[in-house]
Structure formats: structure tokens, C-alpha cells
Symmetry: D2
Subunit: 344 residues, 4 copies
């Protein structure tokens, strides 16, 4: 921690700060400069609460060097985490995985037809929302438990592990009873009660970045899950909110190599939500693999023009098949071994 | 709803769209232009799900005229809603209220001392967090039920209604057992399960705007509460997230008159979280009243330099007293009658 | 300057950094911490170019304490600057000024009619664009020199000083021949060649904040003008670009007290461009004065529905008269003396 | 254009709007809805100035279907533009080009050494700034004409075309006397006087996206150049400004396929400015090609730790050589033919 004093802070104010730091059991080293004095703080283990310092007379700014996360940090845990979902490994050194399926589970026919098709095209897991967060209360909110049962039926038939969203702490048990990978949506990234509850189960979690979350906040949110004991977390960038409205969100693809530097957790990309436009999904899915993502989530719907949500960003079944063919070739070029051959 | 066709969309594509619209039970009116054709959609009651349309060949864009909210809209409910908190009216035509107190309840001594002081200075309600959402898991998370009990003790002594945050659906009952006004924090603005639960109780709710929520999303979130039957909702702007880091958030004060046009619900401002700097709180609190806010939330702490959270943005007790004196004069100038005289 | 080393940086890397700092003629003080070492840099006068440091092995981050501006800083020049425009003082301790007029000068009749009306209502200066920056090339670009002549004619008749935009270095001379206060638009805030040219004239400059400029960049842009010798600069906040589209821009009103802390230059607000909606202009103009602004710029048009640009955000003549009446009362309440009585 | 009326707008107000539209020589078609009436406007050629409409009583919103650009639009000019720089083609169907070099030209030794090395590694063009826009006036501003001469010397020796920035209309002639491709920096994207001047020369222009420019504004800025007669424009995404500070900017890579849909102009990516971190440059350069970019600009410096600007984001010479090897393999995989073999 570094404490920067005002231009006009006198010696007495510097001394008062030094004393306050020492009272916290830490060491303070004044660094006089030509324009102002700074005070280095030593001896802290992890993030220090600066509230007793920031308000002292003469203090201009407090700069933190430590981060609000530690368990997720690569600095402290250099070895990459490989998360296993029903035996399928996700993470560094593994072939990137493809999770495919509709935004929402709508009917038995829709989910089974999609599951069979994406399985045939080579997808690794099936996604589908049973609990759907929607901006307003007057639109389709998902089939809830009925949707979970349909997903389980699809898994039964195809063998694909299922990925689905959980929206509140009290439904974690219910969703975990069906899902193989529990998804936390962007709107719930800082729903801390939900995160803690997920930290207490023993199933892997897919944590989506909040639409205005910094990488620091994203990693700190994951820290909530790890801190409770569940280390099986996959991070997922799905676009952030910016001034640009030509795309649904702005895909922040550069976070892939950045997160890989900062954290040992695997990172995936959701190009469907990030762009919101079908024609942009395939180029961004491919770019994601090249950038180093450990997998992609792609929305696929047998009849996108009849989808109850997110139709315009969903690939058709033939569109998905074509994308898989491209991803397989790209993956082979990048040296991951052929997609679809990654038997558990 | 307006459907804009591509430059090159032919007659057949236009006809296909018209048929799709009619299948939804609505009327479609093609509007040929010099560059492209648009198709007006008539007869819808409220927001239409456009997913069956957006993907048809030749469709370039779908523009919505309706909004994802209706119950909160002034268009449909022109008369202003006045929310009563223990008899204290909040809303149009009423004297603006001042809610004051620490970010977090820390101890009996801290909350009682603050409560007595803000009561004496003329505050209308007492705020204080018992359940605290924090970026990382390694910092103080609040006293939880113990904090609620201390707040109740402070109300007992001072008569001030209490305002406190609720973070998850399963604690709504617990918090509602103590609080007079239940606050939804910015991070939970789209925690829809929480909103629905709050829609089922009969206590007023203070809904804070999410840090990257548009006004449309903000109103749609309030709609979730009203849709379940609870119409006692106060909206609260607390700063949005932008590229600017010189202040903690960016106070979007212009939403005060804007929300008053769009909605019948009362709107308050939290200048403490919006700016994050003590020296900016008073000017922004005063500006809020002039802009038409129905009240302000101000963080006050007896010893800000010892606060467990948000010290730098908290006013001291004498600082708050001075602000109240200014707000009283300003309120009188604006013609609301003197603050502190608004007996229930 | 503070240099933060990696968790794993060894002693040798720390030494290499210390040597590099010393080679720059500065002093380096290593501050070993429990997790990593930081190195304080002393002896610099102003901002240090960190490029020789940032890339050394083991360096994680370089944190600057100094700012890229000095002449505009209140830290170094505590006394407020009062800018005089034709004898009218703008700045701390002076009555706030009102600059009014149309977005663009369109015709003799339009500008004279507006000038007479705003003069009568009590405006201090007349604004009007002769050179207009427009998003696309196919819309009205202003009357150019013809517009300047019409402005001069309006000044001749009403005595109001004129405020108008200059868009390129080579027209500074031309515009300065007519204008009393030269405006730099938001899009040109970092047009450094223009800023330097304005630094060489002896007329006051109104510098508008860029739509995505931080306060630090805003002040650094003003520094360009002061660095060339022209200290007569008024800063103007006109809204920043955020994700919110309900208003044209987001008025960042909290920068008024913030800039007054950081700089000695006067600061004004343009609520018309900031909000883009007529109904929001008056509440925000009043809020600006309460927040401590030294003046406001308001768009006024005799027939807003016929304006060639920005009609929807322009006040009508009676609308402006009503606003002036309110501002006069508010200004008197705030203790600035009555508006309109501030004879040069 | 679509005009949306208020919920409460009566028949007379609708009629008044219809008359106003007709007065503009256009046709108006009222579309009554269940909640409000909309009015379609037909017969316009291109963007309509809505200022005479927006303010009529009862008008709630005006929605534009046309765009503020036409010449750059693929809708109107479906065939891709291939820009030739000294005979090197840039655009659809051509091998992606690599432009490499230092942020700023610093010395003869520095630029020659870089030029030789990047030529040897297979770069197509040499970049280097002679006129440098810097946030504050107290840092290195470039060697100006001296820098241009050094660039010409490097071209003389290596045969590489040179790319350099122009900052003001009055230096366009000077810079065009040396450069083969004139760059407009992000800060000047809406310096309309500069754009017009560049529209009058007959050399290609590289237009960088402003840091808060929408794609619509970006294309409209290019329209300024084309409207003056110069159609040789390459667009360049270099990161936008968002709330995220972990990277210097946020690379908006999804605009590559989006721009390719909307415009016939070539589009390049600058991963160095977009990310600001050396370790992120290579992954993003590769991802750019996969996303469909027609080329990349990469900062390369022989001694990044001594660079006068942008050291931390510059590749070293060996780092660049390694990247070129990767790009060559990737380009071959993508089917563009080997890099470096694209003789003019």
C-alpha cells in the first residue's frame, strides 16, 4: 500500500499517518519527493482496509498494490486448474470444448432435436436455460424444473453433460440435482449469497462476467466460490456494456490472455451473447480459440426465427455443423488434437 | 413496432414478414421508401417479442416503440405515487426527505450515537447496512441479524424509521421483520428472484439503480416488484459506471427530471456512493433537491476514519448538521416548507 | 512514482530497477513487503517518463503520483483565476454568468431576434456557431465567416460579448477577429495543434470537455493552452458518453466541485448538450449553480422546431425568460447578488 | 424515418405532424397502434434532418432508418474496395498486411535498425510517428519534419512504404510529401477540417476509430474523406474506451466482421494500442486475422525499455520475428498464400 500526501502536507501530518499505520501492526516508510511525500506501507499480508488512513488530514490518495483475491490468483497458485465436467477436462493444455444449445429450453421436441444435432456435429456439452433472467416481468421466464427434466432427458439420450443457469441460493440444490455444470449469469456475478452457496457444493461452476465488471471484480467474484471450498470454477467472458450499440455487447477478447496471466482458472467465451448477431458468432468463436480460450459457448436453435428468446444470435443446426467443422480444423492447426476425439 | 427491411429485400420477403406478423395476431402495414421498405406493426398491447421476426430473410432491424414496463409508467398512471414510510410521505408535492446513517452497522455505540445525532440534526430516517455486499470475500460482510437488532434499538430510542439492505430472497422475511424501508442494492437490481419476493410483501422498497443499468432496465426492474402487487417503490440513483475514475461513480443527476416524466414513482439520490468523496457529497445533495429529487441518502459516521467501510465518503456528525442546515434553507427557498417539520 | 515488483521478482531484478532509476538522476528506495517488493522513486520534478522502467524484468506495475498538468493545478496556483470577457468576470466569487443563443447562426433575422430577446431576459453573453462540427458531411456545416459577421452585428446592437467555436488552427486568427470568447468543442479537446494556437492569442478560451475525456485529460488539455502563455481559460462540462442513451450524453455534474478542488480555472456547464432534451435543461441549469458552477451555456432558439440543428434541446424565447427569472432568484438565494446587475 | 407520438397525442397533433412532413416534400403514413400512433415517413433520399419534427407537440421520439453515410456503405457499393499502398493491395481477397515500427521516430539509428529488422522478418510497411499527439504538453511531441526525413531514408534503404500520422490540416501537404499512407489518429477522428483536407489529396488514408466513436460515427467520419473525392481509405480499430482499466483500451474485435458487412472499405486492427500490454499483442494480432481483418499494425522497437513512448506495448525485434512466423503460418492456414510473397 502506498499513501500519497498532499503537496502541502506538513511534517506533523506525515507523522500522524505513520503512527496510524503502525497502530495497524504495519511498517510505514516515508518517501519524501520534490513535490510531495509518499508513505510506503510494509508488512501487510494481503489486502489492507485503508479506511482508517484515507481520511487523515493531508492524505491525498491511497494506492493498493494487493488485490481483493488470492485463491484464484496465478501468482499464488502457478499451476493451471483443469476443471472436469463429467470427465471432460476444461483448461490449459486440453482441447478447447464447445458447449452448444438453445438460450432457453422450450419443449421436449426442441431440446431433444437440438441435443441430437449438436452431438452429431461434435459438441462436448449441451446448454439450455430452464430459469431465465429477463429484463421485464412480462416475457417468458423459462420452464423452471420442467426444463431441467427435459435437459436430463436429453443427456440420457445423447450422453452430453448439461450446462444450465441457477438464479438464486435457494434453488442451488434443485439445479445441482440435474446440471453437470452450473452457470451463474452476468446479472448475478455479484449475487454474493448465490456465489457462497455454490462454493459449498461439489459440482463445477461456470461464472459469467458481469456486464460492467472489471477483471478485478470478476476474479474477486470467483474468489467467493473458492473461498467456500469449491475450486472447480470456469470463467466466461460474454461481452461488456459500453457506449457502442451496434452489437449487443462489446466482446472483450483480450481478457483471454490477460486472465490466463492473472489466474489459474480456465476461461471460455460466449460469442453469442457478446455480439448478439448470428453473422458475428462464427468469426468470434474462431478468434476466441486463437486468443487462447479453453472453450466456447454457442447458442444453437433448430428454428431460430421461432425461438422464445435470443433468436437473432442463435446459429441454425446446419450453421452450427459448419462452425464445428471450422473449429475442428482450426483446433488441429493450433495443435490441440481433433475435436470430438477427447474421450473422457 | 417497426420492421426495417434491407436495401435489397424483395417483394416476396416483405410479404413473408407481413404474414409472420399477421400470424401473431397483429396488423402489418408496409411503408415503401426510396431506399428500403419499412413495415409498421399495429395492434399490439405492450411489448412484443420480436424473435419470430428478426431472423426472417431481408429483415435489417426491428425497432420497438413499446417499453418493457407499464405499471411503473406515468403514461399509464399519470398520478404520482407517494410512498409512506411509517407515515412519512415520499414523493411529488412533499418535502424532500433525508435518510442518514453509516454504510454499515458496526456496534451498538456507533449506531446509537449516529442515530441520536442525525435525529437531532433533522434527518427523517436512519440508514445502516446489516448485510453488506463486498467485492471480495475477505472483507467485513456486516453484522447480519445482530445488525438488524441494533437498528431496531436505534429506532426504539429515536423514533426514526430504519432503512436497510436485503440481499437474497430467503432473507426478505427476516429483514422485513425489522426494516421500515427495504433497500435493494445496485448489484442486485436485476436479481429477479429477490425482486419478486419483495413484490409479495407489504413494506416499501428502495430500489437502487444498477451501476450499468439503463433507465429502461431500471424501470423494468421496478416493474417486477409492482407486477407482484407491491406498489410502494422508491427509485434511487446512486451513480453509474463510466470510464471516469476520478469519482467512485458518475452521478447521473439528469435522470431525476427524466424519471419524473417517465414514471409516477418517487426518485431519490445517493450522493455518497455516487461520488465517493466527502467534499462532493454536500454540493451534490443540494443539487439533487434543485433537480427535483424527492429525497437524498447520505452516509454519516461518527468517526469516518475508523469506519469499516466507505469512510472517505461519509460525512462527520458536524458535517451532516451543517448540510441539514443548508438543505433546510434550500428546501424553504424551493417552497417545500421547512425540513424537520414534516410530522407524519 | 512507485514501482511494484512481481511476487517472484528476485533481489537481482530489484537491483537492476534501482540502477535504472538512478541512471535517470533520481533516487530509488526499495520497500520490501510480505508479498512483493515495491520501489519508491524520489527526486523527480513533475511527471516522469516511465518507459525505461516499465519493461525491466520483474516489474509488475508503475504507479504515477504526479499529474500531466501543473499550470492549471490549484496545488501549485491556489488563487482562483477570474477570466474577463469584455470586462465580465467569470470565476470564483463572481456572480454566475449565463451564455445563451442558438446552436448555429442561421440568418440575420434569427440571430438578431435571439440576441435581443436573451439580452432583454438578462443573458450575459451571446453564443452561436458559425463553424459547425457535424457527424456526417451531408448536413448543414454552418455559415462560416458570414456567421461571424452576423454575430458581430448582434453584438453591435445588443452589447453582448460573443462566444463561438473555432475548429482548426488556421482559422484561429479569423475567429479571434470576431469572437470575444473562443470555444473549443468536445470533439477538438485533444486537437493539440488547435490548443497550441489558442495558447498564442490573447483572448479567453472556453474549453469543452471531450465526450470520453477523463478529468485528468481535460486539465492536461487546458495545460496546452496555458503552456503557450494564454491563461484565460474557462472549462466547460457538457456531458460525457456512457452506455445510457435515454439522454444525449450523461451530465457529470459532480466534476464542478471536483474541478474547483483540482484547478484554479473557472468551470461552466452546458446542460443543453449534456441532456439533449428541452425539459431537462432548466432543472440541470439550476442544479449547476447550486453545485458551484461559475456559469451556464444554454441553447435558445426563436423557433426550435425550425432550427437547423439541436432544435429539441433548445429553449424557446419565453422558456429562456422563465429560466432567467428562476436563475436570478436562485443566484440571489445563493448570495451572488442579482443576475443582470453585474456591469463590467 | 418513423415518428412515434405520445400515448396521449390527439388526432390534431397527428395531423400537424403529417402536414409538417409533407411540407418537407415527403409522404407521411400514420400507423395507429393500441397504445399510441406512429407515423412512417416515405420518400426521403438518405438521412433527413428531423429538427422541424422533433419538437412538434405530441411527438415522443423520431427514429432514423437511414444512416449519416452513403459513399462508404456496402449497401450502395457492394464491391469491396482494395486500397493500394505503393502497389501493395489492402482489402478483401488479399493477403493481410503487416505494418510494423516504433510508436515514434526517435533517431536515425533507431528507425533504420527497426526498418531493416521488420523488413527482414517480412513486414509489408513501416510505421513511425513524426508528429505525436500526447495527453500533456510536457512530454516528447515527436521530431516533426526531421522525423519524416528519417522515415524517407528508411524507405529508401528497405523499400518499405511508410505510414505516419498527420495532425492538422495545414501539415497535410508536408506529410503527404513523405508518407505513402497517411494516418489519422483516434483523437482526430472527428477533426473534420483535417478529414476534408485529406479528401482532397490523392494518397491513401488510414483512419483510426475514435476512442468513444460508434461504428456509425466512424463510418460517417470516413464519409467526409470520400465525399471530397478520396476513396482510398482504410479503417482501423484500435480499442475503445470503457470502464475497464486492466488493459489500455478495450479491443472491439467484433467490429471486423461487422464493418465488412456495413462497408466496402478495408479494415485493420492495431492490437498494440488496443491492449497496451506486450504479452497481449501477439494473441490479439492472430485473433484479428481469424476475425477477418485485412491487416494489423504492430508496434516494434529495438529497445522497448528505452522507447520515448509506448515502450510497454512494443514488441522487441525477436518478438516481432516470432509473431511474423506465426502470422505466416496462420495466413497460409486461412488460405491467403504465404505472407511476404505478395509482391506489388
Amino acid at each position: 500500500m502506498l499513501i500519497v500526501m498532499n503537496h502541502k502536507a506538513g511534517e506533523r501530518q506525515v507523522e500522524a499517518v505513520v503512527r496510524a499505520v503502525e497502530k495497524m501492526g504495519l511498517r510505514a516508510v516515508p518517501i519524501p519527493g520534490s513535490e510531495r511525500t509518499a508513505i510506503g506501507v510494509l508488512g501487510n499480508r494481503g489486502y489492507v482496509d485503508d479506511s482508517t488512513i484515507r481520511d487523515l488530514p493531508g492524505v491525498q490518495e491511497v494506492i493498493h498494490v494487493s488485490k481483493p483475491y488470492k485463491l484464484v490468483s496465478r501468482d499464488f497458485h502457478p499451476r493451471p486448474t483443469v476443471v472436469k465436467v463429467c470427465g471432460i477436462p476444461v483448461g490449459e493444455g486440453k482441447r478447447p470444448v464447445v458447449v452448444a444449445g438453445p438460450c432457453a429450453v422450450e419443449s421436449e421436441e426442441q431440446i431433444l432435436r437440438t441435443a441430437r444435432a449438436v452431438k452429431k456435429s461434435g459438441a462436448d456439452m449441451l446448454r439450455g436455460g430452464a430459469f431465465k433472467p429477463r429484463t421485464g416481468p412480462h416475457t417468458f421466464q423459462g420452464l423452471r424444473e420442467e426444463g431441467l427434466k427435459l435437459l436430463a432427458m436429453a443427456r440420457e439420450e445423447t450422453g452430453l453433460p448439461i450446462v444450465t443457469e441457477v438464479m438464486s441460493p435457494d434453488t442451488v440444490g434443485l439445479v445441482a440435482g440435474y446440471a453437470d455444470l452450473l452457470q451463474v449469469g452476468a446479472r448475478n456475478m455479484q449475487n454474493f449469497e448465490l456465489l457462497k452457496e455454490l462454493g459449498r457444493i461439489r459440482k463445477p461452476v461456470l461464472l459469467k462476467r458481469g456486464m460492467s465488471a472489471t477483471i478485478e471484480e470478476f476474479l474477486a467474484a470467483a474468489e467467493y466460490i473458492l473461498a467456500e471450498g469449491n475450486h472447480q470454477v470456469i470463467l466466461c467472458e460474454r461481452g461488456i456494456r459500453t457506449f457502442e450499440t451496434a452489437t449487443r455487447n462489446t466482446l472483450d477478447l483480450a481478457v483471454v490472455p490477460l486472465i490466463r496471466e492473472l489466474s489459474h482458472l480456465p476461461v471460455m467465451i460466449d460469442p453469442s451473447h457478446a455480439t448478439g448477431k448470428r453473422s458475428l458468432v462464427s468469426p468470434m468463436a474462431k478468434a476466441s480459440l486463437v486468443a487462447g480460450a479453453h472453450g466456447v459457448l454457442v447458442e444453437v436453435h433448430p428454428e431460430p426465427d421461432k425461438a422464445l428468446s435470443d433468436g437473432p444470435q442463435s446459429l441454425t443446426l446446419p450453421g452450427f455443423e459448419a462452425l464445428m467443422e471450422e473449429l475442428r480444423r482450426l483446433s488441429a492447426f493450433l495443435g490441440h488434437g481433433g475435436a470430438g476425439e477427447n474421450a473422457p
